[in-house]
């Protein structure tokens, strides 16, 4: 028997109709009478499944359709066509039982009331989601400990820093212990330490609650740390769905060889494409199939102190995927 998916998406589409207008006063006046409309396919026939408890990275450049997809999954947007089910509910019907099982963390000003301490907003969310007091207490204590919120609870939200506010946003969004979590750029604008803390927290929440997590991020470190599997979309279409390692394999025909030499005096262009050389630390890009041969030659020909072979950084891979698609 097939295990029921937590999220099931089939041929999902969302088309926006937008008014077009040339710049300038003449065009502005003309638009009073006639407004040419055009269709924008924000999401253009994507399909995927998420198993319960899975954490999946949802990647794509700006305007790829990530947020539109998340909004359809959380019931904020009505799909133009296609099938969609999240924990067996049709999201856009916005059934109360469905809304109690999901959360969407998006941006900085969603859950928290600006002028009052975060603790009061949490209390309000308890009432909104009708969380039994004992459960609430337990979850709150856990979130406060994991996200280190104690010193922030009594401060008005508007006095919190960006990172502090994000932590409180996340806590407020998870008080009802949703089984499905949509995270849209949860670490954007945060410093490295805070990013790492939130990342650890997401992994922890997933581990403790078995929650299904779909996460978009511009920081590959987030994706590498959290997601075995990634879904890549571009211009509304699905480009890749599979293991992160597979993405690297599929889209890179090259490997990076880093060699530690005494200095950068030697001309090594014969071995491969020289990416950089600093203080004798040389980075070469070579075709995947050539890796073994080039490594052997380098070791044989040169006084090598150290040598490592690696896949190119994931940012570079993703960049290349999108560049190839756009070209």
């Amino acid at each position: 028997m097939e295990i029921a998916s937590a999220i099931r998406v089939r041929d999902l589409r969302k088309t926006y109709v937008v008014s077009e207008r040339e710049p300038g006063l003449r065009a502005a006046l003309a638009s009073l009478v006639r407004r040419p409309k055009s269709e924008v396919r924000a999401v253009d026939g994507i399909s995927f499944d998420l198993a319960p408890g899975e954490i999946v990275g949802f990647l794509g450049p700006n305007g790829a359709g990530k947020t539109t997809t998340l909004k359809m999954l959380s019931g904020l947007l009505h799909p133009t066509s296609g099938e969609l089910s999240v924990v067996s509910y049709v999201p856009w019907k916005r059934d109360k039982a469905f809304l109690r099982q999901i959360t969407l963390v998006m941006g900085q000003r969603n859950q928290l009331v600006w002028d009052i301490p975060a603790a009061d907003s949490f209390e309000l969310n308890r009432a909104i989601y009708r969380i039994p007091p004992a459960d609430y207490r337990r979850t709150l204590d856990e979130l406060v400990a994991l996200l280190e919120l104690e010193p922030l609870l009594a401060k008005p939200v508007r006095n919190l820093s960006l990172g502090e506010r994000m932590k409180c946003e996340i806590a407020a969004s998870l008080l009802h212990r949703p089984g499905v979590v949509f995270l849209d750029e949860p670490t954007i604008g945060l410093d490295v330490t805070m990013q790492r803390r939130i990342r650890t927290f997401i992994a922890d929440y997933n581990g403790r609650n078995g929650a299904t997590v779909l996460l978009t991020s511009h920081y590959m470190a987030d994706v590498e740390a959290l997601c075995k599997r990634v879904i890549v979309i571009h211009q509304g279409k699905l480009l890749f769905d599979g293991e992160l390692a597979g993405l690297v394999k599929k889209f890179t025909a090259h490997k990076t060889i880093v060699v530690q030499l005494k200095d950068c005096a030697a001309d090594l262009r014969a071995y491969g494409e020289v990416v950089s050389c600093e203080d004798g630390r040389l980075t070469l890009r070579v075709p995947k199939t050539e890796t073994a041969r080039v490594t052997q030659r380098l070791l044989a020909d040169l006084p090598v102190i150290d040598l490592t072979v690696a896949d190119p950084p994931i940012e570079e891979v993703i960049e290349r995927v999108f560049a190839r698609e756009t070209a």
Partner: protein, 267 residues
């Protein structure tokens, strides 16, 4: 405590906590709400004095009584959801609201009530002050006072539901300010705010009978001042009940359509 009462209690607490952060704004609202009826009071008292002591059955002291009570009634029943909606749509704050497993009108009612809790003592004090200055002609009977409370509650509910439904226009157009303006003018003329309805020309009085606005301000005021016959009182309650039902139905459908529209074009 479970469910809606708990939600209302928390929203009230949050609302009061937020409002007291903005004492300046509160004071400005209060001055507006006290000054407006005060101006009408002074104008109409002067007019009635200069036109032989009475106009439409109101003498100067009757106008004083009318507007002092109106100030209290208006304070109880008025809302600002139209402006709030416009802001929410513009700032994209509705998405968060739509993700909550509860109808957003509850939060709005509770927020409205919390501001009333904070401001009502000031308005009552202002009413007392004006009473000392203008010597209004109050004649309360116990029966009228008892009928006043449900009339006031119904006035608040009808006005809130009508305002909330009108505010949904923000989902459909970015030019809600114009709609708010028209709505504001209609309330001003047909509610008994700019003048007691008895003073207005007959055709306007007829229109006011049909529209909801009179029942949200003028009716409770006239009721407590003993200006209505028992049959007029009953008509008033019937009109309030009818408008409450109509507004609730209208709101339900308008809300459904608005959310549909919102989720079609993008949140």
């Amino acid at each position: 405590m479970r469910g809606l009462p708990d939600l209302y209690l928390q929203q009230l607490k949050t609302g009061v906590a937020s409002i007291v952060q903005y004492r300046g704004t509160l004071v400005i609202w209060l001055i507006g709400n006290i000054l407006e009826p005060l101006i009408y009071l002074v104008v109409w008292s002067t007019v009635s004095r200069s036109s032989g002591g009475s106009i439409g059955g109101y003498e100067a002291r009757d106008f004083a009584a009318y507007y002092i009570v109106l100030m209290l009634v208006n304070q109880v029943s008025f809302s600002w959801v139209m402006y709030e909606f416009e802001y929410r749509i513009r700032e994209g704050l509705f998405s968060a609201v739509l993700l909550h497993p509860v109808h957003p009108i509850h939060a709005d009612i509770a927020e409205n009530l919390s501001s009333k809790v904070v401001s009502l003592p000031f308005v009552v004090a202002a009413g007392a002050g004006l009473t000392l200055i203008f010597h209004p002609a109050f004649t309360f009977t116990l029966g009228m006072a008892a009928a006043f409370i449900p009339a006031l509650v119904l006035a608040f509910l009808v006005r809130f539901l009508v305002d909330w439904t009108v505010a949904l226009a923000a989902f459909w157009t970015t030019r809600v300010t114009a709609i708010n303006q028209i709505h504001f003018m209609a309330v001003l003329f047909f509610s008994g705010q700019i003048a007691p309805l008895a003073v207005l020309p007959r055709p306007l009085q007829v229109v006011a009978m049909v529209l909801p606005f009179r029942w949200t301000i003028g009716f409770p005021v006239e009721l407590v001042l003993g200006r209505l016959t028992p049959s007029q009182v009953l008509t008033g309650f019937a009109a309030q009940a009818a408008w409450l039902a109509a507004a609730a139905v209208l709101l339900k459908f308008a809300w459904r359509f608005s959310v549909k529209k919102y989720s079609a074009v993008g949140a």
